[in-house]
């Protein structure tokens, strides 16, 4: 009995991996085509965005901010926020766009969310590594003092973004009004993402409020991982973990509800 369950689980996992792989390639083909640099385009956008903003800030505010290189500081904030904003906007109406794939029973609707998110994560990670390597060579970016902490922060940030995508994808299907609010919401929440500030710069009262945001906790971890002893960071890993868990559970329940009433042409 338990052997049978294990066998089915293994088989299910194999099918899942096959489907994700096929969907990834399909998505990359349809989005970027096969001409010129092809799928490498996935890293160009975050790269340009973070790079250009960093240059503007460098000229507006000088080389340093609270003892951190301003270019490195801006990049460490903008690449994660690009992941979040792209992840969210890609999740809107994702089921309608892919509904013809529902003809194949092994394709589940959460696969679409997962695949698009994976592509965004891959792109921003590549962009991050690329730009940081170049800047390290020019001494504009510190060598990460604790890479493990940085990766942990990145993982939590991504995890929370993914769990939001799981919610936004079905919600955008249920209500068209929501779709109109997403761009403004993602914009308004920029100050609460830890993009411009470190918690230690703030008054204790403000800091307390800001640390309610899972993004800020993850961002503090990433920056602590990069600058180490040069800065003070405040974070609690249970905040992003807990929020991700709650959002994932809600999101998957919503996906299930949407799948039940989904009409496929």
């Amino acid at each position: 009995m338990s052997g049978n369950t294990l066998h089915r689980l293994k088989n299910g996992w194999r099918v899942q991996v096959r489907v994700i792989h096929a969907l990834m390639i399909r998505e990359l083909h349809t989005r970027f085509g096969r001409e010129n640099i092809g799928f490498l385009w996935i890293m160009v956008e975050p790269l340009l965005f973070a790079g250009l903003v960093a240059i503007i800030w460098r000229f507006l505010k000088g080389p340093d901010e609270h003892g951190m290189s301003i270019i490195a500081f801006v990049i460490s904030g903008y690449i994660p926020i690009t992941l979040f904003r792209h992840g969210v906007s890609r999740s809107v109406s994702i089921f309608v766009a892919n509904s013809s794939l529902m003809y194949h029973r092994q394709v589940k609707i959460i696969d679409f969310v997962l695949v698009r998110f994976l592509i965004e994560v891959l792109g921003s990670m590549m962009a991050y590594v690329f730009i940081a390597t170049i800047l390290i060579l020019f001494d504009q970016f510190p060598l990460p003092s604790d890479p493990g902490l940085f990766v942990a922060g990145w993982t939590l940030y991504s995890l929370f973004t993914l769990s939001l995508c799981f919610m936004i994808a079905p919600l955008s299907e249920l209500s068209e009004i929501l779709e109109k609010f997403i761009p403004v919401t993602t914009y308004v929440m920029v100050p609460f993402s830890g993009l411009f500030t470190m918690a230690s710069w703030l008054s204790p009262k403000m800091r307390e409020y800001l640390l309610w945001s899972p993004f800020v906790n993850a961002m503090e971890m990433m920056r602590k991982g990069i600058w180490g002893d040069q800065i003070t960071a405040y974070y609690n890993i249970w905040n992003p973990l807990g929020c991700s868990l709650v959002a994932t559970v809600l999101g998957l329940a919503l996906c299930r509800k949407v799948r039940k009433t989904m009409t496929v042409e």
């Binding site: 096959r18 096929a22 399909r26 083909h29 349809t30 529902m102 003809y103 029973r105 009409t263």
Partner: protein, 215 residues
Amino acid sequence: MIVCKNISKSYKHGAARKQVLDNVNFVIGRGDRVALLGRNGAGKTTLIKLIGGVEMPTSGRITRGMSISWPLGFAGGFQGSLTGYDNARFIARIYGHDYKDMKAFVEDFTELGRQLAMPVKTYSSGMRARLAFALSLAIEFDCYLIDEIILVGDQNFQRKCQHELFEKRKDRTMILASHSIEVVRQFCNKAFIIHQGRVTAYDDVDHAVDLYSAL
């Protein structure tokens, strides 16, 4: 065996609600070739989609004891901007099938030649049907769901489909939605009449066809 138990399906649009299938029960055994008969909008395509797992029933349960193809219809789940080959490769990947075999079969069966390297959105509906059909025949299923498709395409293609399906795979289960009485009489050994949300099963196909014609 495919068992449908207390299946209901309704579609909601705003405040309006349309009940397409209402508490439907049936069993389809291995090797049955079932014709679905019903007027336009009676729910033939809906039933096929439910059996194929493309859409979910509003209530009730479907148990699938064999591998079932995706519904072969006009649209058939293609990505228009990808080429015929890309679509074939995608299908091969998700079904864990060898792409080389698939490619060879698709080229031979569709006779589309160089068109296969063009985006599917440039295909005519007949060409799409050929591709859809080739892809689903390249992967072996115990049960095929067919929604009118064998009636599109030219004479040569129709003959080929009938040969592949009804001669080479005559031991398989088939569920066929069709308005063509000839095809139904010739190939099916069971018939379901779908009328006003209800499904009635008949073992005598000729009798069912007569009833259907009188609807």
